[in-house]
Symmetry: D2
Subunit: 377 residues, 4 copies
């Protein structure tokens, strides 16, 4: 719940403790949320999840060049919700942004200053180092000072920091990219144990990650019955992966002391949803299946949305749900480790994870609105 | 809630009013449900929906040759539920059966006599006339007397009869087939208005309707990038379609007075879920788009799960939801009517519709447990 | 081989017999062909087939806004051919045009007058009656006089007329649309026998028929796992179907004496290639499976590219080949006839059929360049 | 052309030069070929290619439990060929075997001894070291002595040895597996240059590689909209890959001196045909894009079936053809090399490559019968 909406940022920053900022809704209250960028696939998925969230009221949708259009004109499957897309949002306690890179960075500072919770699903608040933006995204970050306060919204890695935003005057979550989510959940136990000596991440994604704008190579006739690699030599998500692996402490490569240089290769495969990231790890020291099993069991024992599997997981088995499934294997023949993570890229890789972080920031049960079971077959 | 479980059927039939049979759960109570045939696709979908139903507790799953197997061994996407599949069911207030034809007919009489609500998703209790079973399904119905009490579980056509089962000592619902559901919802307003003079139904289905057992022509390599017709000259679902159209009163053909002879042709198309039924109707009299629009608007104005669309609907837009979308068009050039119905064959065409009927029988809100929005893209 | 390139059309028309026009290549000669509209899917398929045709040399490709671009930049799979796309064509004996409607009509008259064989894969020379163009295609035909000389390029219906173009001074083939090809081959034996009393054609197509330009509803994420109808109330291909059925003599409907009014409904299904047309026929008189089998066997006994099947055919089984498979069934219960035709829409439904007609016009074996077996699975 | 069919092997081995064994057909002659294992996907593809091969006559097909069955009953798309499947083969000059592992090893010795060319598409004659069979395939090789004479049928690596079989009394080709073909063609230039210091191969395959027998996890409903890894910790194709990389000389790992230990991970993706192998290489020394470009250009400059691409290749662009497309990239940021190979697994990865080797063994043009262009979209 947003408080002191009219107060200037500086005042808010000074007085939050005193004024008792608390984003948790009172009894019987619903959190008023708005969605900016409602016309894309991620926007649709936010509506699907937030529209059924028990503690949320969607108060507005903002989309490109729309002015009262029924949501069904944009997302035919959501016509039953009766929502409309507008040019602007009404006052809201929390705003989810699903925008192209560089856009959120310009509008978030003013919004965040009013106390509104910001859940940004683009990359503008994921990277800690402002210098990474020109390098990976090609723009100078206009509000670099806010990067220090923004939290990388992967609850399994940053739960305490996200929960602490509940009482912070400014709450900005940089919700992770889809590939980093699958990759980091697969690798976190290894990284924490200092086992990652060398790292190749080979990932496969359905097409919905490429968004909804018509592009020649996203036409059905081009995608179906085909697979290809893309983003050769530096997909932007590498920046997040390297940042977070470094943050886990043990992820420096033996061959590249002091620096994690991930060899990351994404592929486009003929399906709509789902990401599988296969991480091929040369360990820093000999290990065993038994040690790995223990590491993963302990790491994810209490995680509501991460399941450790004993057989290689398929993306179909998490479709439509916020669950990530991870798998780890020690290859006795080669001495290598294989770690696999699968997610629905639009749920745990985007909208669902954003809601999960939002729940933490607002003091709600972490699973609220995210309890749907996967849809299979 | 099941009452007087031990009472004989005959007694129950005589005394239900007196004994006050009421299947609605008391405050704070959950209805105990069991699922027989849990290892198929429909069984999985029942678990997905009932597992999140607010008024239901799944007390048991029964599957072929299983004995305490975790559900994840059968349905990998449901491993997170912690359910197991057993050889038999514990006592339950309601039982959903998803079994091959001829199987439910043998076991239902005894179960129903105890007062347990029976929701049979197979064909054994859909047809009113016992003589239709040898003709369409190749078996003599062993409990023909029960056919008179069983209700065809299409709530949009039989809501009062389903609701009346709440107080009946024996409650058996014959849940409709997937093709009939899409077809009947598309045609009901025309049938009631006596407009169906001649009828061709050309339907397209994803492969999940064919079930889960491995068959050569259901392999990915055979299905993908292909379409074919099947069930030439008499798919079994014709029997239901003709029965229900006749029941709506106006569905007799001008060319075949007194008899509805549906020309029904199903196709298998390369997708997993979804049915589209296109009904080509020669009307019994001239009509207009405006008249048809009115008929459909009135027919479905208050239906929670039927949406009348102004553009041709796609199956993707109902995926995972219990919604049917229907569309009607008058072709001024040919004078014909086109009526289209689309559903998710495993939800509105099977498990979701069964839950919808179950809700009615148990005095619950009709939409309970069925409010998920569709999953797209 | 083109002769008397400079002669005016009128002179040609008068003197063809005298001057001995013969389009058959001499011994050891290859026919020089050009392709206009090489950048679309049909253009690619023409290159695939003509590039391996034993009697053909591709002398030029013309595409939108191209100037010496390697074909691989447009059609990646054809990069090995070494062909380039240019703004214009060199002199050629035959030109294949794959252009949007209304475009060929403007440029063909001048080209045809030089004696060059014209194989137009668009609709501009398919309809006999110029009045049909404004009605179905929205443009006034600029060279209506040529419609009388153009031959509808379905060899199974118009073989003699196509072969006669070999000696004609002007040779224009209006190559059929994909839906009409599948539909007419399925129905021709019934039409000739005067059996079509009433007709519903329900067709299903892969997306490649919609062409290659990026459109929102042709994106993989929208098409996959979905089916929808389109072209409600009058797809343009109806005009061809009705024209050709009428031409076969017996295709007038009992209910609409003197006029064939086809109820035609196309669907988009999640595959790239293939069309299945299911024709639901109410016969003008009682018939039998045996009579129908005879009609089809006789009609297609000597056809190199039409196979009469005894089980319902799948599009996969003709993929990449010029074969059409047809199937006919008499439904004793309803008295109706079902006739099914399946083709690869880009081969028998476009480029392959165009080559077949071209072969006839140039006095080549009808199967030259078209003998590839289907590609399955 | 088979000669001295009745001569014992020993005699043949001694006298081949003297007797002038020559497998090249005389003028106007066709090579008589038989196919054993015609009922699988690879068998179908052999029929598709050999059926149109200008120098071949298919004299017999042998399949499981068949006795004169028309091929169309097994492979519906091939019904037009008029071929039948029998329990045994007539005399043939060459036999292609597409059989489960361990089967060919038992029957080949006798067949090869008669002089018949053996093209085995299974693994029984791919590995040089008999000890590898129990380890990787679980059976003792019954004719280990023949392994020394068998040639690994990857023409791009073993062209001279294959061509030399033309005059050898015994000619056995162990045609490569699909994954090794894509992998080895991608890596051969690096291996020859001694650049492979460490190697991860992450491969993606369509389902046709898993064969045609119905399996639960190959059903459309399980495969579509899903991706999963399999063969964890040791797919059998690793043996071939390591053997051939070692044979190229420079493929020993810096970290594992003297032994190539490939980290190989295959994935099943929702398509029917196609393999993409992405090889992630840590080079043994610094290199550059320019050096790599030169290596690949030189290696494949004259190869009719390998194209070096400057952008990442898609499997769709080789569909149905015998072409492999390879791509190499030096990542300046990480210092690593990425090498990608794509093929149609049933053509260059199986039947096409077998025909290519067969052509070499019989002194035919290497491209005979293999000149079809890819089928796209």
């Amino acid at each position: 719940m947003r408080e002191h909406a009219g107060a200037p940022v500086s005042a808010g920053l000074e007085t939050s403790a005193a004024t008792g900022t608390d984003r948790r809704p009172g009894p019987g209250q619903r959190i008023r949320v708005g969605i900016i960028g409602a016309s894309g696939y991620v926007g649709a998925e936010l509506i699907r999840l937030l529209g059924r969230h028990p503690d949320v009221e969607i108060v507005g949708l903002q989309g490109r060049d729309r002015d009262g259009d029924p949501i069904g004109a944009t997302h035919a499957h959501l016509s039953g919700t009766g929502l409309t897309v507008e040019r602007s949002l009404p006052e809201a306690d929390a705003v989810f942004l699903a925008l192209p890179h560089g856009t959120a960075a310009s509008i978030v500072p003013e919004m965040a200053a009013t106390g509104t919770t910001i859940i940004d699903l683009g990359p503008d608040f994921r990277l800690n180092d402002a210098a990474d933006y020109p390098r990976w995204y090609g723009f100078e970050h206009p509000s670099a000072d806010l990067l220090a306060t923004a939290i990388y919204g992967l609850p399994e890695l940053h739960r305490p920091e996200l929960a602490a935003l509940r009482h912070a005057p400014v709450a900005i979550v940089g919700s992770p990219g889809c590939y980093p989510t699958a990759t980091l959940l697969a690798l976190a136990p290894l990284a924490r144990a200092g086992l990652i000596g060398d790292l190749v991440v080979d990932a496969k994604s359905g097409v919905s990650g490429a968004g909804r704008d018509p592009k020649p190579d996203m036409m059905f006739g081009e995608v179906n019955e085909s697979v290809k690699a893309y983003g050769i030599g530096g997909h932007r998500h590498v920046a997040e992966i390297e940042q977070e692996l470094a943050g886990l402490g043990g992820a420096t490569g033996v061959d590249n002391p002091g620096a994690v240089a991930v060899d990351f290769l994404p592929h486009l495969i003929p399906m709509t949803r789902g990401i599988l990231a296969a991480a091929h790890v040369r360990p820093t020291r000999p290990t065993s299946q038994s040690e790995l099993d223990d590491l993963y069991a302990i790491a994810y024992m209490r995680e509501p949305f991460v399941s450790v599997m004993s057989t290689p997981p398929a993306t179909k088995h998490v479709l439509g749900s916020n669950v990530a499934r991870v798998f780890v294997n020690h290859d006795a023949r080669t001495g290598r480790i294989l770690a696999i993570g699968v997610i629905d890229n639009l749920v745990k890789g985007a909208a669902g994870q954003a809601v999960q972080a939002f729940n933490l920031v607002h003091g709600l049960p972490e699973t609220a609105g995210l309890e749907q079971l996967p849809l299979a077959p």
